[in-house]
Each structure stands twice: as structure tokens, then as C-alpha cells.
Amino acid sequence: MVLAEHTGRQVSEETHKLICKARELALALGGLTEVALLGRTDLAGQLDGADIVVTVDHPALSEYLPEAYERTLLDLLAERSPRLLLMSNGTIGLDLAAALSVRWDAALVTAVSALEIEADAVTATAQILGGKVLVRVELPGERGIATLLGGVFEAGTRWSSRDAEVIHVAPPTGLDALRMSLRRVVEADPGDVDISLADMLVSVGRGIESQDNMEIVAELAAALGVPLSASRPVVDAGWLPKTRQVGQSGLKVKPRVYLALGISGAPEHLEGMRNAELILACNTDPGAPIFGVAHYGTTVDLFDLVPELVGKVRG
């Protein structure tokens, strides 16, 4: 079973990738691919590749609400008894997977970058410690949950838009008496610059060490005439606004050139930039995961490299 994610009008791209993976696993296990679609029955037609779409409608499910989703999914899991529940490793996966794992009594593996069937057992490779260590795990028993990293799996060839069987399930009792409610949805501030439209980005990570040092990378970005962007720790520290964040909780970018300075390459960051045409990475740690996706890399210290670059760009 795949949990479909949607923003109201559209099923997310990651959901298509999850369905594609689920289909591959279902074929190996001789089963079917089911998709749980909560709150928006009308989007069922977008779920190409599903054999069965299970929908539940209720006002509390119109937007993602943790408690409403959790109760509904627990009901569906009990009723449908899937071998495996696949979720994205984004906000909803981080919010729900572990709670479902406890309540459904299923083994869970998070931040999965590979998932396969070996002799009827579900095995996964998960990334931990910022992608510096890969862990091979087995999900024992008859039920399991995996949250899949974004940007790693392919949507592949979309299956033809054959009609899946759509099963409408009544919402669980209790959705009218939840311990939380959605007050409002706040759309993102568009910010001063849309980094997703830039031809090139100078992007800075934890390796910049302090706010004072931001000046030298800002100087390089200015010399090149391109925007400055950042990985999450720099934004969390308040050194750049949220609108400049690249990654899972920021923006996904695909510039012609992405210059990563002092970015180690945590999976959440790679999700946002791995499709850039040319990735240049500077990190003093030769084992940094960023070198796994970069086309060119260097372990020269950014504090030595950046002033040289500024000088040469300015001629």
C-alpha cells in the first residue's frame, strides 16, 4: 500500500515514484498495488499504476491533519492488511510513520534509498548520519513500513491510464472529535528571488561556520551575478531567509550549475539539487556524500578557494 500525498489539486510527484516502486515489489511478491487516497476521491484518476485505490472522504481529511490521517490509516491498515506500507520521507512520513509502526505493530525503516524482495523478505537500504553510512535492514514478519527518500527513486514509465478499482471506505469514527484542528494554511512567502529559476546557484552549508563568513560567499555570488542559496542548517541559523533553502523542506532546484560550498550532502539536501546539470562541490571531508552526486569536487578549504574564485571571476 502506498499513502498518496497531494496538495489539494494534484497528487505529488513522489507519490508516482512510490507507486512505481510498490508495483515492482507487488509483482515480485505476487500481490497487488493499493493506494490510500485520503480526502480527495476526485484525484483517483491521477494514480496511474495502482491496481486498487482506496479512498476515504471526510472534512477533516481535506488537508493533511496528523491525527485524522493516523486514525484513518490505522483503520485502512487493519482492514486491508497490506504486506508493506510505503510513505515518503517528507513531512508526512516524519510525522506519521513511527506512530503507525507502534500502533499497527509493524517494523519500520526510514530514509530508505533502496528497497527489494530477497527470498520473500523485504530488505531495505537506509541512509543515516547525513548519508555517511548505509544500513541494510530486513523488515521481518508479515507487515512493515518504509519511508522512501525523495529524489532517489524513479517514476519510470507511467503505466497506461487503465482504470484501477476504486473502493470507497467510510471514515473511522472519531474524526469529529479530534484533539487537534487546522486553523489555516499559510502559503510560502515568495521572497525576493526565486532560486528555482536561477541559471546558477552558489550554495553554502554548515562548513561556512559563522554568520560573519557569509560575506565571502555573498561576494562570490555577486561577482558571478547569481543568487546565493543554502542548505537547511544555514537557514535554521537565520543567516539566509527560508526562500533561499534548497532541499526537502526548501525548494527543489535544477540550475545549469550548482556550486556547493561546505555542504556535506545530507539526503534531504540532495533531494533538492541532485538534478542540476552540473554540480561542483567543495568540502574538506573526502567522504562527504555530496561527492556522490557531484560531477566535479574538491577538498580544498572553501575559505582558500572562494577568495581565489572571486579574484578570477572579476578578472
Partner: protein, 263 residues
């Protein structure tokens, strides 16, 4: 109001990380452990709530965790009111096969919270070494409490909290959540405060870490670790070498070839 903030040390990701001999866990012997970055954000958010309207902030670690004393004293120096180290009834906590099972950690913390309930539990949304899930939803499920993760602000409003939950590209859901509740913090409303070394030393001299033996709550089945490896095989970058000037020349050449540098 009582806010419990679980704190967990994680390996400092700046350092190289080695695996143990049988490749089922990381080699902890020479690693530096630091407070997880999301836990630091969670502590800051709890302290902001205390600053705004008063609350008792209780930081809780597991006694066997490396560097936990230093982390708890630093939390006290920042403004936490109480620091607790948990052990099991035998006075020790086995670290588990790879030292990374959230299920075992959550079971112990849930045992503590069942005995000494909190109005709010505020934890980092995740830890760098999470493998079998994240702490906040695991704890919430064990305690049957409402929970919200990936929070970027938590503010008290009577008997509930207003939580902003972040989605991709900065979209936010503003939720009203009845207390008691468990919140997983992605980032605090401001950068974590700094604790001067003199104040940390004062906290250490004053002592005051409380050791508490608890009975873990029963928890769920877990994934079985078959092995670990480092991702060298994925290394694909062509490495540019030489002095900083040499590397800069090569990078400028690549940019010039794409018309991004004119001169």
C-alpha cells in the same frame, strides 16, 4: 506548565565515521558526540515558551549516552530548570545492537513520562542516526497523545498550543493542538541561544543532575540490521586537485565553457 525535552547525543558529522568490526554498528570509541541539531532547536523552542509565559523545562537524557552529562549541564546553563538521566530498573541501559533503535529509547522515555506526565513534550523532529523511526511520534503513540512533527513554531494558547507545521517549499499548516501533546521541532523561532562556558562550569559545579530509574513501556517489533557500509562505491565526482588557485582556475574554466563567466 511542565515541558519535557528529551535530548540525545549523536556523532559529530564533521568527523569521519568508522564502522565496528562486524559492520553492524558504528565504532563509537573515537567519535565525538554532540547534541543533535534538531534537539538543540527543540530545547530553544521550549526555552522560548518559558520566556514568554513561564514553564518548567525538564531536559531528559539516557544515562548510558556518551557526553550526556555535558549536554544536560549545557541545557541547565541555557535556562532549563531540571536535568534528568534515565536508567532502567537495574540502573543501566543497554545501548542496543547498533545503539540506534528509537523504539528502545522511546520505551524508556515513555516509562518516565507515564510516571511523571508533562503538559508538552518537545523533541527534535529527528536525529541524524534515526533508522527505525523518529522519537516524537513513537513516544506519542506509546503514550496515546496527539502529536505534530516538523514544527517551526510552538506557542501556548490556554490549554492548547498553536503549532506551525512545515511542508516542502515553506508551505505551513497552522494547527491548534490540545495539551498534553508531543511536538517534533524542525527549527525554533530563533537560532539556539549560546551558553557561556562560565555558566556551564557553574552548572557543573552545582551538580544537580537527577538520576531516575524507570520501567520501559512495551514497544513494537523492529527492523533487523543485516549490516552497514559506507557509500564510497557511489563516489562519482571527478576530483579537482592542486592549490586553491589551481582549483579556482579549473572551476572558472568550467563556468566559462557554459557562458557563466565572460572574462
Amino acid at each position: 506548565m511542565r515541558i519535557v525535552v528529551p535530548l540525545k547525543p549523536v556523532p559529530d558529522l564533521v568527523e569521519e565515521i568508522d564502522l565496528n568490526a562486524d559492520r553492524t554498528g558504528i565504532d563509537r570509541e573515537y567519535l565525538t558526540f554532540v547534541l543533535g541539531e534538531w534537539d538543540a532547536q527543540a530545547l530553544e523552542e521550549a526555552l522560548l515558551i518559558k520566556d514568554a509565559g513561564g514553564a518548567e523545562v525538564v531536559t531528559v537524557g539516557l544515562a548510558h549516552d556518551l557526553e550526556i552529562d555535558q549536554i544536560l549541564y549545557t541545557a541547565l546553563a541555557k535556562g532549563a530548570d531540571v536535568a534528568v538521566k534515565l536508567t532502567d530498573a537495574a540502573g543501566a541501559v543497554p545501548p542496543g545492537p547498533a545503539g540506534i533503535r528509537i523504539a528502545d529509547r522511546a520505551a524508556l522515555l515513555a516509562g518516565y513520562l507515564a510516571a511523571q506526565p508533562a503538559d508538552l513534550v518537545i523533541s527534535g523532529v529527528q536525529a541524524a542516526d534515526d533508522l527505525d523511526g523518529q522519537l516524537p511520534p513513537t513516544l506519542a503513540a506509546l503514550l496515546d497523545l496527539p502529536h505534530v512533527s516538523v514544527a517551526v513554531s510552538v506557542e501556548v494558547d490556554g490549554s492548547s498550543v498553536i503549532v506551525r507545521q512545515e511542508f516542502a517549499a515553506g508551505r505551513l499548516h497552522e494547527l491548534q493542538v490540545q495539551m498534553p501533546a508531543v511536538i517534533g521541532v524542525q527549527s525554533a523561532r530563533q537560532a539556539p541561544r549560546y551558553a557561556p562556558i562560565t555558566r556551564i562550569r557553574q552548572a557543573m559545579q552545582a551538580g544537580g543532575l537527577i538520576t531516575c530509574a524507570v520501567s520501559p513501556l512495551p514497544t513494537r517489533a523492529g527492523a533487523v540490521v543485516r549490516g552497514m557500509h559506507r557509500p564510497e562505491a557511489n563516489h562519482q565526482a571527478e576530483m579537482l586537485t592542486g592549490s586553491a588557485g589551481d582549483v579556482a582556475d579549473q572551476i572558472v574554466g568550467l563556468l566559462r565553457a557554459r557562458g557563466l563567466v565572460q572574462r
